[in-house]
Amino acid sequence: MTTVNVNGVDHQVDVDDDMPLLWVVRDVLGMTGTKFGCGAGLCGACTVHIDGEAQFACQTPIASVGTSKVTTIEAMKDSPIGKAVQEAWIDTDVVQCGYCQPGQIMRACAMIAKSPQPTDAEIDEVMYTNLCRCGCYPRIRAAIHKATGAGKVAA
């Protein structure tokens, strides 16, 4: 049995040590907001926070999580940054198919937590890892600026 803390709740899971966090969250805990895209750390659809850092859940063996706190898209509406980012995403009409957006939002929120008003260069540097096949990039950039401009995000 492994204990994993997801969105503030401890879960006991009976899985192999090498099982990626992505599949623990999706197939064992039944939280499907975190998406499977590539299984190889190449697309960012599975991005979650581990102790506040954006990480690829598909590349994170469950045994490596230990006592770290995992946060997924399901909890983001309850955080000030998450709420501001989600609202900016809606106002900016970022989403199309929407499949990559939980990952995009998780990475954007982790960035904003460290850099409350990221520049375009920072956005390129950080968001580079997350692919969007629908081509929502210009709006992702605009939504990040919207969420972080005019003191929308609580410090």
């Binding site: 192999d16 099982m19 990626p20 190449l42 659809a45 997924t72 809606i90 929407g98």
Partner: protein
């Protein structure tokens, strides 16, 4: 007038609020049979619409949502005719059933949704409105013509009476529906006005359910390996090793594939590795990219079938026309195979039971996929239930039922619901790819450099011939779209099509035939402009007398600052299309880039798509289509070696990243003309616009894609 007085209320916004039901902004995305919309319906005027006793309107969406925004646009069309807000309508994604929406097919592709639905969907809503008006008029004993609907209520202006829809549904349900109620042709309140997407809240919260997210009690999860060589078959597996993996419950062998069934995906994946399947490669084992390309070039030497209406000019007539030219220019263009690479890999949940099956998946063809599933099951269609889900991208990939049929093959051998998930590698290596095309094109120019003769021979796979053999007469009508009818006046023109297939299976890919044509026609027109020493926009403009074509060119020149030279180190290119009933021009500004050869700095897009439905949706489609097209133009290529696809994941099938995305500026020309399509046009226009910009920047004419590979070779 029993009850009428007590039901009557002042004309106000209360009716609207009542029609909105409890939630003014729907968060959840609803599906047939899963917490269905707003039952029980009190009034169901047709297959798309129902209204409950509270007056809340529910729309069963006749087309599928894959990101392109029809969830919002179709709802706006309903809202317009029913005199409510789009946000107030509860949207239901329905199960697949051929014919359930009459003339409107659930099949969604080829930029057809708005064009196909414009009349019937608005008519369905207008008829519902007509019935509610008739119910009110009967109650008030006035002529229906004296009444109108607004803000979710029917009003009789002369007597200042109003009834909300909620007060009318019961009687409307029992009345004979009035004859066709006229749809609006002007004075729109919703259509043409910016509308935020209705599906955003669920999607940004991770609450939207895609096919891959479906979970059922007792469900198993499977993953598969398919014969790596096209046409290969399964040889051997180490079943004991797979079964030894914790969580693996079953191995399912198929003639050309094998699946491992487990408690979760990770166990299935580990089981598949342990299974170590081996294959018999069959006749395609030595197929190579070079050999395939050579076979197309060879096939292109033959004579094709004329794609022109009534045959067009024959070879002798063309030779005569060409003989009058002062200059001849010819070129060969090639376009590679492409994978769809939807972010959500292939997946399907199936439960084979009770002499039929139940399916949960995201598909662009819920009705025909259900029919195909029934065929595969050997049962009548009514023994198959297909629950459609949101799609994590379509782009034509989900116009094919193969991944559903694969899941049925597996599901037939599993005594439980099973979710078959394709790995990214399987998804990329067992796609049905955008066809490889070889285009040979020649123009004869007069003394002014204008084309007086034009021959264009297209050699490639025919998707139409595969899907509709009974109608196929030697020309793939989709592949030649945009080649036969170009935006230009071409006095003598011959277009031929030669069908040529390889081992690589092919299918629809965003932009379809019009995009393959646009790359060739718009690159070649640019070559002619250059040969004539003419400005590319002025040259195009001189070849058309269509005022709408001229207007998009004029506006793109103005908005892109075409008249002024590009900033130092930069250059611009232009392209124009008139396909899918939409006119579009784009100007692309580029500069050199050390890694990719070229960096796209800015795209200016001008569109005349007739009456716009949702301007915000149009902008999003243009931005997304431009980026989708840039990925293809710069990086897109799928190649074959030893009979198998070489690319496997995003490291060797590159997508554009945020750091590579240009600024995109969109201008929509106001219009009340017939509606045009929006999904394909931006993809079709960007590829030649970029190729032409690359020529302006580097002097290198791009006749083969992808561009980054050509420039960095």
């Amino acid at each position: 007038m029993t009850g009428a007085d007590t039901d009557t209320m002042a004309i106000s916004r209360r009716g609207l609020l009542r029609a909105a039901g409890a939630s003014a902004f729907a968060i959840a995305i609803r599906f047939d049979g899963a917490g269905a919309a707003i039952a029980p319906a009190s009034f169901t005027p047709n297959a798309m619409l129902s209204i409950n006793a509270a007056g809340a309107i529910s729309l069963s969406l006749p087309k599928t949502e894959m990101g392109q925004g029809v969830y919002t646009a179709l709802t706006m069309m309903i809202a317009e005719e029913m005199e409510v807000t789009a946000q107030s309508i509860a949207i239901l994604l329905p199960d697949g059933a051929t014919g359930r929406f009459g003339k409107v097919t659930q099949d969604t592709g080829g930029s057809t949704t708005i064009r196909e639905c414009w009349e019937p969907v608005r008519q369905a809503a207008a008829d519902a409105r007509g019935a509610l008006i008739a119910a009110a008029a009967a109650q008030w004993k006035v002529a229906p013509g004296e009444c109108s609907a607004t803000d979710g209520q029917v009003i009789h202006a002369a007597s200042k009476r109003a009834l909300p829809y909620s007060a009318l549904v019961a009687s409307a349900a029992t009345m004979k529906l009035p004859e066709k109620t006229l749809v609006k042709t002007s004075g729109y309140k919703v259509i043409g006005k910016p509308q935020h997407r209705l599906d955003s809240p669920a999607k940004v919260r991770g609450e939207a359910e895609y096919g891959i997210d479906v979970r059922l009690p007792g469900m198993k999860v499977a993953t598969l390996a398919q014969a790596p060589v096209f046409g290969g078959t399964l040889d051997s597996v180490n079943e004991a090793a797979a079964m030894a993996v914790k969580g693996v419950v079953q191995v399912v062998r198929l003639p050309d594939a094998v699946a491992v069934v487990a408690d979760h995906y990770w166990a299935a994946r580990k089981g598949l590795e342990a299974l170590s399947p081996t294959w018999k490669d069959g006749t395609n084992a030595t197929a190579s990219q070079a050999a395939i390309m050579a076979s197309y070039a060879k096939a292109a030497q033959g004579e094709g079938a004329s794609a022109m209406a009534e045959g067009g000019l024959d070879a002798a007539m063309m030779a005569k026309a060409m003989a009058g030219a002062t200059k001849k220019i010819s070129a060969v263009y090639e376009q590679p195979f492409l994978a769809h690479a939807t972010m959500e890999p292939g997946n399907c949940v199936v439960h084979v039971k009770d002499g039929g099956c139940e399916i949960w998946t995201g598909t662009q063809i819920p009705g025909s996929a259900r029919d195909e599933a029934a065929k595969a099951m050997g049962v009548p269609a009514d023994k198959v239930i297909l629950h459609n889900r949101l799609m994590g991208g379509g782009f034509g990939r989900r116009l094919e039922p193969d991944y559903i049929l694969r899941a049925i093959e597996v599901g037939k051998q599993v005594q439980a619901p099973v979710k078959l998930i394709w790995s990214r590698e399987e998804d990329m290596q067992h796609d049905l790819y955008r066809p490889f095309y070889h285009d040979a094109i020649e123009a004869g120019l007069d003394a002014d450099g204008k084309p007086i003769a034009w021959t264009h021979k297209i050699t490639g796979s025919s998707i139409m011939a595969r899907l509709y053999p009974q109608y196929y007469k030697g020309v793939d009508a989709d592949a030649v779209d945009g080649s036969v009818t170009t935006p230009y006046t071409l006095p003598a023109q011959r277009v031929e099509f030669i069908r040529h297939e390889s081992a690589v299976p092919t299918s629809w890919w965003r932009g379809v035939g019009g995009a393959r044509s646009a790359f060739v026609v718009e690159s070649f027109i640019d070559e002619l402009a250059h040969a004539a020493g003419a400005d590319p926009i002025a040259y195009r403009r001189s070849l058309t007398s269509d005022p709408r074509t001229q207007a998009v060119l004029d506006m793109v020149a103005e908005k892109s600052g075409w008249a002024a030279p590009a900033p130092a180190g930069r250059a611009r290119g232009v392209a124009l299309i008139h396909t899918w009933d939409t006119y579009m021009a784009q100007v692309v500004e580029v500069e050199k880039h050390p890694e990719n050869g070229v960096k796209v700095v800015k795209v200016t897009a001008v569109v005349d798509c007739g009456q716009p439905v949702n301007p915000m949706g149009i902008e999003a489609q243009i931005e997304g289509g431009v980026i989708f097209g840039l990925t293809a133009a710069l990086f897109g290529e799928v190649t074959v070696a030893d009979g198998r696809i070489e690319q496997s994941n995003f490291h060797d099938y590159r997508l554009l990243r945020i750091s590579e995305a240009p600024v995109i500026e969109t201008h929509i020309i106001p219009s009340s003309q017939t509606v045009g399509g929006m999904g394909e046009p931006p993809v079709a226009t960007i590829v030649p616009a970029l190729a032409n910009a690359v020529f302006a920047l580097t002097g290198k004419r791009i006749r083969k894609l992808p561009i980054a590979k050509v420039l960095t070779a």
